[in-house]
């Protein structure tokens, strides 16, 4: 770029491009790290420094490991006791809807679990090529995964004006178009959404399930942001729960795979690679093959499995670690709330940038209203306007965010994606940098 070599007016790059809690300055949960440390190095169990519940949890987890070591292989679908803990977590979350450990498969992150499902679902070429309906916008590595598996991608647009809602009419339209060129088999939903932060109402989920039942689609419900909900009057409903309450024909026939992980939420343990999928109404013969596929990858990382156990079964009131634990979780929630408040304040003052209400998830996906002049300038450089915006933003202020063109968006609309779960001072710094860049930029092209 033509500014190379010039003195920069910032000291370091501020990276708000990826959904990484710890990179954003948020500290890991103490209880989680203490249990993991004791599992790595059981000599710590003799230490006075660790609370009793930490030691008990570490001991009980180590008992489930062959040879009492987290270095041993485990069952391919995960340690039985941990799958049990996860199934109990799901049942509690869903107000009593039963969950069986036999339908739980632990994997190294939700992405990997999702890819195993895709591997089972996807085959064929030309008209028989498996089609998967995916939302626009959607995060980039998922699109890449679909391409890698040889799926035909059938996009359905989320409705930005209504807060990025999912509209069944749009699904129907997309499906109809898709059927002309491929064999649509699966419907992928991300709820809460990435990058949009939209969270579906119960009614919306019912409509989608009914649509999937009518059109015979396998539902892939990516729910990794389920514990990041902060909007007022906003609640997360799992696809499993809503499905279970929809009458005997639908609830016993619609095939569903739900995904969750330790990478998001208050844990933010992306690097540990712990995730699971729960299968509902899967053909038992297919489940057998899924198990076999899993077994060829030996087993998920044990540390990730332990993190899942801690996520699914955190400290309870009365446990020695509970006070610190609940303080830390609350602090993270407060931080995100403050950040989303600040973001809305700052955006309200800036011209040419607007944002749907922030309800859930880790990101904000504001719309940039570029002038014709700006769009033409970008066209001349053979780049998307929002990509060019992000490049200049990075060059001039050191703030790194991602452009909407990487996620898909309606033609002639432009966005950026900002991570919101960072330390408050980092968020403030980011917003200042954005402010100092944005107004002059918009003026330049007015």
């Amino acid at each position: 770029m033509d500014r190379l070599g010039e003195r920069r007016n910032y000291n370091e790059v501020l990276d708000l491009s990826s959904g990484d809690l710890h990179r954003g300055g948020i500290k890991p949960i103490t209880f989680v790290r203490q249990v993991l440390a004791a599992c790595f190095y059981p000599a710590l169990l003799e230490d006075d420094s660790l609370p009793l519940d930490v030691k008990q949890r570490a001991e009980s987890l180590l008992r489930e490991c062959d040879g009492g070591s987290i270095g041993s292989y485990t069952e391919s679908s995960g340690i039985a006791k941990i799958k049990h803990c996860v199934s109990q977590f799901i049942t509690r979350r869903d107000g009593g809807v039963p969950s069986s450990p036999d339908n739980i498969f632990i994997k190294s992150g939700s992405q990997t679990a999702l890819m195993i499902m895709l591997k089972l679902l996807i085959s064929g070429k030309d008209l028989c090529q498996t089609g998967v309906l995916i939302p626009v916008p959607t995060y980039a590595s998922f699109t890449l995964a679909l391409e890698e598996q040889g799926a035909a991608i059938i996009p359905y647009h989320l409705c930005e004006e209504q807060g990025w809602t999912l509209q069944v009419e749009e699904l129907r339209k997309a499906l109809h178009t898709g059927r002309k060129t491929c064999n649509p088999v699966a419907l992928y939903i991300c709820n809460p959404g990435n990058p949009t932060g939209h969270i579906q109402s119960r009614k919306s989920i019912e409509e989608v399930i009914r649509f999937a039942a009518e059109e015979r689609l396998f539902i892939l419900a990516d729910e990794v942001y389920q514990s990041c909900v902060y909007g007022d009057d906003t609640e997360f409903y799992s696809y499993k729960k809503v499905l279970s309450e929809m009458g005997s024909t639908i609830c016993s026939t619609v095939e569903l795979a739900s995904f969750n992980s330790v990478s998001k939420g208050f844990m933010g343990e992306c690097g540990l690679r712990g995730g699971y999928m729960e299968l509902v109404n899967l053909d038992p013969a297919v489940k057998e093959y899924a198990s076999r596929l899993f077994s060829t990858r030996s087993c998920p990382p044990v540390v990730g499995q332990i993190a899942l156990d801690l996520m699914a079964g955190p400290p309870k009131p009365g446990d020695p670690s509970f006070p610190t634990f609940s303080e830390e979780v609350q602090a993270i929630k407060n931080t995100i709330c403050k950040n989303t408040g600040r973001i809305q304040e700052v955006f309200a003052e800036l011209p040419g940038i607007s944002c749907q209400p922030l309800k859930a998830g880790f990101f904000v996906f504001p719309c940039l209203h570029f002038s014709l002049k700006a769009i033409q300038w970008a066209k001349k450089r053979q780049m998307e306007p929002d990509m060019l915006y992000c490049l200049r933003l990075l060059e001039e202020t050191g703030l790194h965010v991602r452009p909407g063109c990487e996620y898909g968006q309606r033609k002639d609309s432009h966005h950026i994606r900002l991570f919101v779960a960072t330390q408050e001072n980092i968020m403030e710094d980011a917003l200042q940098r954005l402010k100092t860049f944005h107004t002059p930029f918009m003026k330049e092209f007015s």
Binding site: G71, E215, S295, S298
Partner: protein, 495 residues
């Protein structure tokens, strides 16, 4: 139009049918088998449950000698490694004076290269920078100074992840141009399973049992020539030290393989996860990379090679960490860019596995506080394995009807068993491979869980089993003697 009719038919199938059935599923998945965790292990797990419930059996415990899991069999983790991992995970411990300084320094260094100084942050898809640098340095030291570029190092989720990724990259074509992958028979069934899953063509080359499982170039040639009739052979996989056979290839053999790959334009995949597990007199590990470069630029600038290593074997035995790396040599830059893109799909390998890999390649040095304990532990593990390798070969060779090649390296014995005609017939009548029949009976009567040779591949009409040498020496002796008794009884019963 016909596609409308097809779609109509597909969508008006009776509602009883699910969307995802064995018939609508990706057909390649049906061919996937992984004997190491197959039906015999499932039965073993069932028996363990029954024992727990108090069901009476002719034995008190199931001995899982089917899987290369050292810690499960009582091997202790290396203290230094676990200390550093604890420090990385809970950095408060850096203030604890019970931890040695060299462990703390390693932890600090690793944490500094992690986002937010946390091992819970995503890493770059190719792996933490400083770890890749340390891996490159390790390779360079190991290979007598031959340079290694960190940019050619990819950290992986165990070696399996790297192996499957490279196979995926290489699999292309259709029908007669479909990628053929040459793999040894016997082989570690990850290869056959992945080849099936990817829809590539498996090309078998037989190792020579009479010559201690050595590799004959003439056999490679024969197999390649035959394969060219029906596919496009592009890859040659070699496991050294071998799994399940334990053979350690001579330097000459490795040179011959490289020469063969160069001549026949094959991409070499060298699975070297057992590189520290070498026991037999006169045997030495030679890395494919080292030999390649010592053969001069005619080969070293041309032959495409991927070498694999992991934290699961050797003296570490840290299977559950899923740590590993691969080094790619002479890969076409455009293909390498695709590889980098491919690995980004799964985001990143587990950070603890990456950290552990760093410690393996950057272990305590003479003069450092942890050095003595580290060396003591490492030596103890490797010498115990060497002892057990010898013991296994000796005892098994005293059994009439069992013949065991020297266990030169790795973690397994793969003895040949002679089965009576009647047993073979009974097995076949049951629809079972004869060595599966044998192993199932062994499991039911003694609690010993092994993997039948049919799970790894073997010459037609021969039978084997794979048994790990990992149980503690005392238990191993008991196990081998029980096996001896069983075999004699079995032979008599079916004579």
């Amino acid at each position: 139009a016909s596609h409308e009719i097809l779609n109509y038919m597909m969508h008006t199938l009776p509602l009883r049918g699910k969307v995802l059935t064995v018939d609508t599923m990706n057909a390649n998945v049906k061919k996937v088998d992984y004997a190491v965790r197959g039906p015999i292990v499932q039965r073993a797990v069932q028996i363990e449950k029954e024992l727990k419930e108090g069901v009476k059996k002719p034995f008190e415990e199931v001995i899982k000698a089917n899987i290369g899991d050292a810690h499960a069999m009582g091997q202790r983790p290396i203290t230094f490694f676990r200390q550093v991992m604890a420090l990385c995970t809970y950095p408060q411990l850096l203030d604890d004076n019970k931890f040695p300084e060299d462990a703390k320094n390693r932890a600090r260094r690793i944490l500094q290269s992690c986002g937010g100084n946390s091992i819970g942050a995503y890493t770059t898809s190719q792996g933490i920078d400083c770890v890749r640098h340390d891996v490159a340095n390790y390779i360079q030291r190991r290979d007598g100074g031959i340079p290694s570029d960190p940019d050619n190092i990819y950290l992986t989720t165990g070696a399996s992840d790297g192996i499957v990724t490279i196979l995926k990259l290489l699999t292309a074509g259709e029908g007669r141009t479909r990628t053929g992958v040459m793999i040894s028979i016997p082989q570690y069934p990850l290869y056959s399973a992945s080849i099936a899953e990817l829809g590539a063509v498996q090309i078998n080359y037989y190792l020579n049992e009479e010559k201690c499982w050595s590799l004959d170039i003439s056999e490679l040639q024969r197999s390649l020539h035959a394969a060219r009739e029906h596919c496009n052979p592009r890859v040659l996989c070699i496991i050294n030290p071998g799994n399940p056979t334990g053979q350690v290839q001579s330097r000459q053999c490795i040179e011959d393989v490289i020469r063969f790959a160069a001549k026949e334009n094959l991409f070499l995949m060298a699975d070297e996860v057992y590189q520290d597990n070498v026991y037999a007199e006169g045997c030495e590990f030679h890395s494919f990379k080292k030999v390649l470069f010592e053969m001069g630029p005619e080969y070293s600038s041309k032959v495409e090679l991927a070498s694999f290593h992991s934290t699961s074997k050797c003296y570490m035995g840290e299977c559950g960490f899923r740590g590993g790396y691969m080094e790619v040599i002479n890969m076409d830059p455009e293909v390498k860019a695709q590889l980098t893109k491919l690995v980004s799909v799964r985001l990143c390998p587990p950070a603890p596995g990456q950290a552990l890999m760093d410690l393996v390649v950057n272990s305590p040095q003479p003069g450092e506080p942890s050095y003595q304990t580290f060396m003591k532990e490492r030596t103890a593990v490797l010498s115990a394995l060497a002892e057990k390798a010898k013991l296994t070969e000796e005892i098994l060779n005293t059994v009439p009807g069992i013949s065991c090649n020297p266990v030169q390296g790795a973690m397994y014995s793969f003895p040949r068993i002679t089965l009576p005609e009647r047993a073979i017939n009974e097995a076949k009548a049951k629809g079972q491979a004869p060595d599966m029949f044998y192993c199932m009976k062994l499991l039911e009567e003694t609690g010993i869980c092994l993997v039948p040779g049919s799970g790894f591949g073997q010459r037609e009409g021969t039978y084997h089993f794979r048994m790990t040498i990992l149980p503690p020496t005392d238990k191993l002796k008991i196990m081998l003697n029980k096996l001896k008794e069983f075999h004699q009884k079995f032979t008599q019963q079916y004579s």
